[in-house]
């Protein structure tokens, strides 16, 4: 049995080994990009059936972002929505025979978790400046700085291991059962796998949203600082 922790290269492009996960990832990326491009070319005020379905998806996404974080969804819609859709389709790509979900390999999940790590810094700096972002480490108290710094690394690692473990264990169990038993036996397990894939995609997106808004909220000036800032501004005027 091959180890689930390593992936074998399919072919080489120059010195770069290409695994099946990379091929699937690029396939999903191209399908998503082409779909998004072609669906948004002819937007009308009175939506067609397809456009109405897309609008429903976007509004559900907005509602979820608003419910989980209390923030206005517009700045986060693109990133969180893409993250959710990509992981969902990647988890469900195992429905196509012969395709293994790219999220069942270490590299894809590590890349996604690093993406969340970087985006927390990006959104934190964008809303509060570098100073606001650094200040978010000292919330709620200066004593918490080492713990908060440790947490930014450990939560990234835990997101990565959570997604990898869940998807990979599903693929692994189905492989074992299929090698032991006959044709139709793994089907209930595959159905469970679909549910796991949906829940994991949702949780990855929600956690990314929670981390981002926590940093953004902690980086905002407190009411006392805001008052003193406006007071000094008034003096300068």
């Amino acid at each position: 049995m091959t180890s689930p922790l390593e992936s074998l290269p399919l072919f080489f492009v120059g010195p770069v080994p290409i695994t099946s996960a990379i091929v699937t990832t690029w396939g999903i990326m191209i399908a998503l990009a082409l779909g998004a491009y072609s669906l948004t070319r002819r937007l009308t005020l009175v939506p067609s059936k397809l456009q109405a379905a897309m609008e429903l998806m976007v509004s559900v996404l907005d509602g979820q972002i608003r419910d989980t974080s209390g923030a206005e969804p517009a700045p986060y819609r693109g990133f969180i929505g893409t993250l959710f859709l990509f992981i969902l389709i990647a988890n469900w790509s195992s429905l196509i025979p012969g395709v293994e979900p790219p999220t069942a390999t270490l590299e894809t999940d590590a890349a996604l978790a690093v993406l969340v790590f970087v985006s927390v810094i990006w959104f934190g700096v964008r809303s509060g400046g570098v100073r606001g972002y650094l200040k978010s480490f000292a919330a709620p108290n200066v004593i918490m700085v080492p713990l908060n710094m440790l947490e930014t690394v450990t939560r990234t690692f835990s997101m990565f291991v959570r997604l990898f473990g869940n998807v990979m264990s599903g693929v692994f169990v189905i492989g074992i059962v299929a090698s032991l038993a006959g044709l139709l036996v793994p089907i209930p397990l595959m159905a469970l796998d679909l549910l796991t894939g949906l829940v994991q995609a949702y949780i990855f997106a929600v956690l990314a949203m929670v981390f981002i808004t926590a940093t953004v909220e902690d980086g905002k000036p407190t009411s006392r600082e805001a008052a003193s800032n406006s007071a000094s501004n008034a003096k300068e005027l």
Binding site: S3, P4, L5, E6, D67, T68, S158, V161, R162, F164, G165, N166, S169, V199, Q200, Y202, I203, V206, L207
Partner: protein, 81 residues
């Protein structure tokens, strides 16, 4: 088979079996609490079940960590070379 690989196989099985006990109990408790809350307040079922799913995934992560440790022991054990 030398004793290092024997111990690795045993501890991989131990990690998964004992690592599954805690999350199983915790998930049972949290689902029971969520059921209770939904029965008392059916109109809050959406919020409760959403929070429940996120919490369940967090709890499940501890079991997944055990699984990853077991797989490391079986497939990527640095001591076995």
């Amino acid at each position: 088979m030398d004793y290092l690989s024997l111990i690795s196989i045993f501890s991989a099985a131990f990690a998964v079996s004992f690592g599954a006990i805690g999350p199983a109990l915790a998930e049972g408790r949290s689902v029971a609490a969520a059921m209770d809350a939904i029965a008392r307040q059916p109109e809050a079922a959406n919020t409760i079940s959403r929070t429940l799913f996120v919490g369940l995934a967090m709890i499940e992560t501890t079991a997944i960590y055990c699984l990853v440790v077991a797989l490391l022991l079986l497939f990527a054990n640095p001591l076995l070379g």
